[in-house]
Point group: C2
Chain length 246, copies 2
């Protein structure tokens, strides 16, 4: 999804950004925002964490990250700050940042919260969705089914995210959307490497959900979503455990 770290913005020899190069080629839309560096760093680090380049528990040294990313310590610190409030790293005073080490208990808590939030979003979505929206939902569902047939795990995961994200969007509750986005990302971080996507049964549940939304039935939509997410949670508990180390 996110850009890997390598293609950083063009820089002069001092490391300061230069616009010289960009000015030629592209007379493109001026509307584009230059993306604050701290946010680029934030996204880069988040990506490095989810893809396990930075392992849980690892000590993140500001200076190293700064050098690696080709920026100064300041944007790195600000990014770490934000990563903490969102649960990706722990900032131990006078010791710095450590990649968060999720416990099984915490993963379960997260899955529980996700369950009630997603259920709520399904309920709201059922009250809001128009025919256009339902059509779009079926499209996304179709994408998932196809990816499943192709055995393309990555695409299945992507389609799953898209579908859930769209339901969330349909709910029309922006605060809810933000929270789900946060929780979901962490859930994926904990969960994805352990259990592979649940496959056909999950997409059957998705279909039921869409039908309930199309029928504008909030109660059933909520029920189905609850069952769906609780089943994922169960899958987490039944996961093939790695041997307990040490």
């Amino acid at each position: 999804m996110t850009q890997p770290v390598s293609p950083l913005p063009d820089r002069g020899p001092t490391g300061r950004r230069t616009a010289k190069g960009a000015l030629s080629g592209t007379a493109a839309r001026r509307v584009e925002r230059p993306a604050p560096l701290r946010q680029v760093v934030y996204e880069a680090l988040a990506e490095l964490i989810v893809n396990r380049t930075l392992e849980p528990g690892q000590h993140l040294v500001e200076a190293d990250l700064a050098e690696y990313l080709g920026v100064s310590r300041q944007p790195v610190r600000e990014a770490l700050q934000r990563l903490q409030t969102e649960g990706w790293v722990d900032l131990r005073p006078a010791q710095g940042a450590f990649v968060h080490l999720p416990t099984d208990e915490e993963a379960d808590h997260l899955l529980g919260v996700r369950s009630v939030l997603e259920a709520y979003s399904a309920r709201l979505a059922a009250g809001q969705a128009g025919p256009e929206d339902v059509k779009r939902l079926w499209e996304l569902h179709h994408e998932g089914i196809e990816a499943l047939a192709d055995d393309d795990i990555e695409a299945v995961v992507a389609a799953n995210s898209s579908l859930h994200a769209f339901v969330t969007e349909l709910s029309g509750n922006s605060v809810l959307a933000e929270m789900i986005a946060l929780v979901d990302r962490r859930v994926r971080w904990y969960y994805t490497p352990i259990a592979r996507p649940r496959g056909h049964d999950a997409w059957h549940e998705h279909a039921q959900l869409i039908e309930a939304i199309a029928a504008k039935d909030p109660v059933v939509a909520e029920e189905i979503m609850t069952r769906h997410t609780e089943r994922t949670r169960q899958a987490f508990h039944d996961r093939p455990r790695e041997e307990p180390q040490s």
Copy 2:
């Protein structure tokens, strides 16, 4: 609640912190953490925002805040960073921080999310609470009733917070606790200045809730909490509107 800004830590003439003074008088526990400056700043600013010293929409100039608080720009920036992710300020790129301006719609969204989160916590609490916990709940309830009798609004609000916070704690879900804390604080910011606490009926609902928890009945506890928070939400909609300006 939080310390006002004035009593900042002792500083030398350069603005650097000195421990000289503190060393004498107190040979106190060394276990105490010195509280990172950025966090002190964070709390100071949050307090200034909730108590309306910094008005919604106001432009926060880093340098001014830094001077006012007697610190450098860096900790201020980090605090603002965190205030943004938690919804207190909006950080407009290249323009700086503005105190978040809540819309009615957003307040409603927030109240909705709070409702489902609190309901979940009530459900979990009913499954977890022991006799000791129930006793504590009744104590808190008693405090609320007394404050109500004394017409001490501030104490009523405090008791209300304590009670809800304890229920959340009983849920045993730390992730949930964090999220509720976040949402609650913002709800109070939006809501408190508008509607005065709901009074006796609210505390009657609290009593019902505690009974359901004591009876270890998750379903009823959840129902009651849902009714309770949805009623607060309704009170928000029925609030005496200030005249629409402009």
